[in-house]
């Protein structure tokens, strides 16, 4: 029912429509401004990464609009020729991949038991794991650092183990909740057919759980790819990208071009994942809002 019909006169109805049009345009304009505000920093970084150092130091990236001739790919070729950076990219991958696979494997098994095997103390175990979700990892850094030093774990394996441990509570939480939502009849049918728990898990639950596993994988991969704190404490000489960049920050001013190119390179992977798997990415993040 529109206001125009209620008032019954064309003129007032027209006025209401004009007002509506205005408020609608105001919303549009406001959202456009907000969206621009959100895009500008990223555009600035992209453009900066293509500018030579001496230009970066003396003028803003927006000057490329009037003098596009200054753009160059030198920063990137410098980066590719920079062995430390190439090593950092490799290290980041060597950290992020196992730090994604391991917690998912452990959490899928645990999540299955918590969702579908009826045993005493199940709820208590699950609640304990949920509680661990909110333990800040700062609470573990020092003792784990000491444990690793005692048993001689260092570098990439140390980072991976820490990420696995602190990725687990969320992973178990997500897996258990997703598995619990699968149809009960499926499990019962399989059990009546005499399938073992392992078989049910491996042949039914895991394939059906794919969406949750994908979300979790994307979430955890992005998380570990972007992590700074754990890598700073444990990576030692096997520095991943974030440590490489933060070390460069110490020498700020001398390497703005390298830093911005490094930042951009490091953002390419998560952004690529974000656009390729947007649906899973958002699902993982929405689930992750408890973290």
């Amino acid at each position: 029912m529109t206001a125009g019909v209620v008032t019954g006169t064309g003129r007032v109805g027209g006025l209401v429509r004009v007002r509506k049009w205005f408020s609608k345009s105001a919303v549009q304009i406001f959202l456009v401004v907000v969206a621009l505000f959100w895009m500008v920093p990223g555009i600035g970084l992209l453009v900066t990464s293509f500018r030579p150092l001496e230009k970066v130091a003396e003028s803003g990236w927006w000057t490329t609009v009037t003098s596009p001739g200054q753009l160059t790919t030198d920063n990137y070729s410098n980066l590719l020729g920079n062995d430390t950076l190439v090593d950092a990219v490799i290290n980041t991958l060597l950290i992020a991949i196992p730090s994604t696979v391991l917690p998912i494997l452990l959490a899928a098994a645990a999540g299955y038991a918590l969702a579908w095997i009826d045993f005493k103390g199940r709820d208590a175990v699950f609640l304990l794991i949920v509680a661990m979700l909110m333990v800040p990892l700062q609470m573990a850094l020092i003792p784990v650092f000491r444990i690793f030093r005692t048993v001689g774990v260092s570098g990439i394996p140390a980072v991976v183990l820490f990420h696995t441990a602190f990725g687990l509570p969320f992973a178990v939480f997500l897996m258990r909740n997703y598995f619990a939502g699968l149809p009960k009849s499926l499990m019962e049918a399989a059990r009546i057919d005499g399938a073992s728990e392992w078989r049910i898990f491996y042949r039914i639950v895991l394939p059906l759980g794919f969406p949750a596993i994908a979300s979790l994988a994307i979430f955890q991969f992005t998380w570990t790819w972007n992590d700074l704190l754990v890598a700073l404490v444990f990576s030692g000489e096997q520095k991943p990208l974030m440590v490489f960049i933060s070390n460069r920050l110490g020498q700020f001013g001398s390497g703005i071009d390298i830093i911005s190119a490094g930042v951009f390179v490091s953002a390419l992977v998560p952004l690529g994942i974000f656009f390729a798997f947007q649906k899973y990415f958002e699902a993982g993040l929405l689930g992750g809002s408890v973290k």
Partner: protein, 430 residues
């Protein structure tokens, strides 16, 4: 049978529980223990670490900043997310809008901090925010041609370099002579047309003759006199101001720096080069200075996490029962009333989730500060989580006090943990 099921469950759970036990549960307890020991974890020191922690300036700043984060950041981001979620519902490009706002959440927080460090650069030539802030200034109060120049001799009045330069003259029967000597011209900025400066002489009743010149040559120790090889400054606007403060004439200097004004009544005049000629370029807002750094970092935080709040709340919004909203509209409620009385109450649980997540984020803030705060202001931008790392793993590495700070952080998060568990139990009971 029951026992067997227990065994199977244990097999599925064992790997995860083992890792959690060794790397989460045990270390958490161990951290509490270590917080009562010295920095090597050897000697029991009681509450010493906590006492020292509370006295440490860096830690106090960190605590204060963390509290600012906790008070400002979740409230602002949640409100913004709610507003944008509701508003973006009204446009057709809502999914594009949400993607744009969510993008920063994909990249590393450290990188976002660095991006904003560029944005906040104090120099309006290179920092975008200051460049934008500088636009009105650049139009209405542009930088002078000779920024920061200074008067050359005692006969001239100037508050400080960069201000107006003036000479006060008594105009009698012989007229007056103005010697506006200028020093500290940046980068030898005289234009090519400038020639040997003119040495003015009195030109009779009612007339001021004068010169604006660069009053320095190598080895010149006497100021206020036009020496050979000193050049005039052309194109300078000179104002003749009478004793009432009114500008009676405005003249411009020639290639030799000379100017003259005639037809003046006898009296006292102020011959002045206005400050706009010497105005220094704007230095910009020091976003990353010690006063503003936390605020600046929070703005960057809004940019990073705004999309998260928007997305979660928008998902909640999409799941609201449309009939309820429609019913309210049919009953004659306007959009604001619908929002205030129906949408927000229904969304409360989701809003709480977002708010809690952001509060935890605010307490654990770390990478953003490293990325955004230049080394010299890192102490001023300090937060608890950053101080925990700095104390424990940089410098001498005080693991005792580092543990105390970690426990302190945990205690601040504990109420949230309890709240979340209770909510979780309520949900699973329902």
């Amino acid at each position: 049978m029951r026992k067997r099921r227990w065994l199977i469950a244990l097999l599925f759970l064992a790997p995860a529980l083992f890792v959690l036990g060794v790397l989460v549960v045990y270390p958490t307890i161990e951290t509490i223990r270590l917080s009562f020991f010295d920095r090597f974890g050897e000697e029991f020191v009681g509450l010493d670490n906590y006492r020292r922690m509370l006295r440490l300036d860096r830690m106090r700043t960190g605590f204060r900043n963390s509290m600012i984060w906790v008070v400002v950041f979740p409230t602002f981001v949640t409100t913004l997310g709610l507003a944008l979620a509701v508003l973006s519902q009204k446009v057709r490009w809502r999914s594009a809008f949400r993607v744009i706002l969510f993008m920063p959440a994909a990249i590393a927080v450290l990188s976002s901090g660095i991006i904003w460090r560029f944005m906040y650069d104090a120099d309006p030539e290179t920092g975008l925010l200051n460049a934008v802030a500088n636009i009105p200034r650049a139009i209405f109060n542009p930088e002078g041609d000779y920024p920061g120049a200074a008067a050359s001799h005692d006969g001239l009045i100037q508050e400080e370099p960069g201000d107006a330069i003036a000479q006060v003259l008594e105009i009698g029967p012989g007229g007056g002579v103005a010697m506006l000597g200028v020093l500290r011209l940046t980068d030898a900025a005289l234009p090519a047309e400038a020639v040997q400066a003119f040495a003015p002489t009195p030109a009779g009743s009612g007339t001021i003759t004068g010169v604006v010149w660069r009053d320095t040559t190598p080895g010149d120790n006497i100021k206020g006199i036009v020496d050979p090889a000193e050049r005039g400054i052309p194109g300078i606007t000179v104002e003749i101001i009478d004793s009432s403060g009114a500008t009676v004439q405005t003249v411009r200097s020639g290639p030799d720096g000379s100017f003259d004004a005639s037809g003046l009544d006898p009296g006292t005049y102020r011959v002045e080069i206005p400050a706009s000629t010497f105005r220094k370029p704007w230095r910009g807002i020091t976003w990353l200075g010690e006063d503003l750094i936390t605020l600046s970092a929070i703005i960057a935080g809004v940019w990073i996490w705004g999309g998260f709040a928007l997305l979660v709340i928008a998902a909640g919004l999409a799941s609201l029962p449309q009939e309820t909203l429609e019913a309210a509209r049919v009953d004659g409620a306007n959009e604001w009333q619908v929002f205030r009385r129906v949408t927000v109450p229904l969304l409360k649980p989701i809003i709480a989730v977002v708010f809690v997540a952001l509060t935890i984020n605010a307490l654990k803030m770390f990478d953003l500060i490293i990325g955004i705060a230049p080394g010299s202001v890192q102490d001023d931008a300090n937060v608890i989580a950053l101080e925990m790392w700095r104390t424990s793993f940089t410098g001498l590495g005080d693991r005792g006090m580092g543990s105390a700070i970690a426990v302190f952080l945990f205690v601040l998060i504990l109420p949230i943990l309890v709240f979340n568990i209770r909510r979780f139990r309520l949900e699973s009971d329902a």
